[in-house]
Amino acid sequence: MNKRISIEEALNLVKDGDTLMVGGFLAVGTPEALIDGLVEKGVKDLTLICNDTGFPEKGVGKMVVAKQFKKIIASHVGTNRETGRQMNEGETEVVLVPQGTLAEQIRAAGFGLGGVLTPTGMGTEVEKGKEIIEVQGKKYLLEEPLSADVAIIYATMADEKGNLVFHGSTRNFNTLMAAAAKTTIVLADKVVPVGALNPNSVIVPAVFIDYIVEGGANG
């Protein structure tokens, strides 16, 4: 079981039309080198699931500028004017989801749940088209799982099995997306031998990781 692959091999795992999860929060904790590769490769008609659409010249926003998405599911697109332009001109479908709901939907997919009930979005446009369920006298929205064909995530360090640790605020959605895709590729700043990480401090267990690419320091 060797999970290490080259960046070229990793890029070949993303196909036109795929649903793609991308880790990161305003481009912090984003697998930047994989984004650059996907822009260059020109894969298209993707559905993006990401916290936000980064900036036009940083993070997943570069793929927005390259018009690689037919649909974007995110909690915030305000930092990338190109997303707004594509949305307003009807070029790209944009679904806005409350950030905590997005986190739970991705977690639900990865953890085999059929969804969660959340009070977030009740009484707002977010409830449109969703089932409302009353539990213990309080009303909640039923939010369904969100899964993907491929997740590209970032980690500060991986061991050769794929156990991951993170520094700073880079975890964000990376930990959740790891479990929620058919194929998960991690871009790690550094890869260390098996046994080098403290089993009490690993944040993402290797069981969720299919492939490891080394390099491309974050930031």
């Binding site: 929060f25 904790g29 909690s75 950030q99 905590g100 986190a103 707002t124 446009e125 930990t175 930031g219």
Partner: protein, 218 residues
């Protein structure tokens, strides 16, 4: 007061609402300033919804760590005793009622405590980010904003922009005064001595209830 003085005046007043041991989430813009005015003698932890508690000030330029950023993506620091976590835990903390208070800006607030602050249809649709969860989950919701925008009312009888959350706001702090959202409507409990009650009412679409013990806002 110039704009900066006005914003600091608001932020200073909001900071008086904080208590020792509180965990507080500050929105971007004006609310961020609240961190500069935490009263002496109390310790407050700031939560950053992108994944930590213990948000500290911006670092010196040569101390920047690009992997430690706030919810606006800017480099910050983490205080001693802080802790990093992922987005599921971050919003578990928020949605689960473990955040003592959130301070947010708003486009509109109405007398039922409804708040609109995430989109103007056809014009500006940045998305709600973490705001809907914060409004639902934080124990206390404080809106910190200028009382009007370009002479137009922001404190309304009824919001007409898409709501970020219904019946969510507890307290509104502006440069004109401090307003509690009560079951009966907006209640002016403090007033900036530079203004009269009539001034504040004129700048507010909804009818104000004036507190019997109306105080000066400081």
């Amino acid at each position: 007061m110039d704009k900066q003085q006005m914003q600091e005046f608001i932020a200073r007043r909001v900071a008086k609402e904080l208590h020792d041991g509180d965990v507080v989430n500050l929105g971007i813009g004006l609310p961020t300033l609240v961190a500069n005015f935490v009263p002496e003698g109390i310790s407050v932890d700031f939560q950053s919804e992108n994944g930590f508690i213990g948000l500290g000030p911006a670092p010196a330029e040569d101390q920047v760590d690009l992997c430690i950023s706030n919810a606006g993506g800017q480099p910050v620091t983490i205080c001693e005793g802080g802790v990093f976590f992922d987005s599921a835990i971050s919003f578990g903390i928020i949605r689960g009622g473990h955040v003592s208070a959130t301070v947010l800006g708003a486009l509109q607030v109405d007398e039922k405590g409804n708040i609109a602050n995430y989109m103007i249809p056809g014009k500006m649709v940045p998305g709600m980010g973490g705001a809907m969860d914060l409004l639902i989950g934080a124990k206390k919701v404080i809106v910190a904003m200028e009382h009007t925008v370009k002479g137009n009312h922001k404190l309304l009888k009824e919001c007409n922009l898409p709501l970020t959350a219904p019946a969510a706001v507890d307290l509104i702090v502006t440069e004109m005064g401090v307003i509690e959202v009560t079951p009966e409507g907006f209640k002016l409990i403090e007033i900036n001595p530079e203004y009269t009650v009539e001034d504040v009412q004129a700048a507010t679409e909804a009818t104000l209830i004036i507190a019997d013990d109306l105080k000066d806002m400081q």
